[in-house]
Amino acid sequence: MSTDPLAPHVDPRWRDAFVMELRLRDVPGRRIGDALAEVDVHCRDADEDATTAFGDPVAYAQGLTEHLPSRARLPLRDSAAVVVETVGVLGVVWTLPPWLNGDPLVTSRGMAVTVVLTLLVAAVLCLAPAPTLRWLTRARWWQVAIAGSGVALVLTALTQLAPDGRLEAPATPFALASLLLLVVGAVALHAGGTTADLVRAPGADDARSLRRARTVSVLISAALPVVALLNAGGLALLTR
């Protein structure tokens, strides 16, 4: 039914909805892997699909979370890491091209409002309760379109309200600070443990599996800085 080594007998759509619901409820990856493996083995033994045997994946996950442990959330620490990383990404993309080209840093009110609003959205998403995140994952295209248009309208209105004027500053200190924040944010995300909490099969707690989880966490944490640096490099070449 599926090539997923964790749950080869479970329909991938059922599996994804089940894992997503448990993730939204902060169940640790090891416990998610345990529950998923149990579903898989039952489907294989009973020769039934997951919907027939377990019903709706979201309802089943909700029933399980009554007795499953949940990961201790540290909303402030987690959101601080995300906000620092977001500042680093925005800063690098914005400041590196003029720095590499030897130009001063130029900003406008539109850019400043965009940065502030982006940080606000990042912080709100980090602190949002599970029902809000669940709604976002199931939103239809027109709901996403309305939400996106709303953000764009707010952005435009705030830009008009902000004082106009062209600001110039030396690019070097801002570029170095952005690079520092990019690295600090990536390290904080990795150290927070969120990126290392993989869904693991039962018994996969050996040193090899844990090493793999750490490697994946490092790669995930490094991916965003690498993309930001590539973007900044490309922009520097285009604006030379």
């Binding site: 083995v41 039952h42 027939t52 045997a53 019903g55």
Partner: protein, 131 residues
């Protein structure tokens, strides 16, 4: 002509018993924990086997969506131990076993259930008073 009201939903998506009857879900919900513990009193086993034995006992088909949350609650209450055991050339299964507390619970609650069942049977089947 009046129609009979539909019976309450059975546990899972239908609990057809050997005599063709469907046990109402609300009856099964009250006794399923004890029945699962009773299966495990015969020795450690895995979820699907528990479901099979319950079906063979006439309780009907217990769906995985009902059985595993129940086993999870019993484990969280300290009445069951759980352990993944490797399979023969395939993926393993999670085995459940009674703890001492589970065995004591089965003994005590089994006796109480027996008294309750006797009481309700006597009450429900006693002759109706003449009006």
């Amino acid at each position: 002509m009046s129609r009979r009201p539909a019976p309450p939903d059975p546990v899972g998506d239908g609990t057809a018993t050997p005599d063709g009857a469907d046990w109402p879900g609300e009856w099964l919900r009250g006794v399923l924990s004890l029945c699962a513990l009773r299966v495990l009193a015969d020795g450690a086993t895995y979820g699907y086997d528990i479901a099979q034995r319950l079906a063979a006992a006439g309780l009907g088909e217990i769906k995985g969506g009902t059985l595993y949350p129940l086993l999870g609650r019993l484990h969280a209450a300290g009445l069951l131990d759980e352990e993944w055991r490797p399979g023969d050339g395939g993926p393993g299964r999670k085995y459940y076993a009674l703890t001492d507390a589970g065995r004591a619970h089965l003994h005590d609650e089994g006796a109480r259930w027996s008294r309750f069942a006797d009481l309700t049977q006597t009450f429900v089947t006693r002759p109706e008073a003449a009006r």
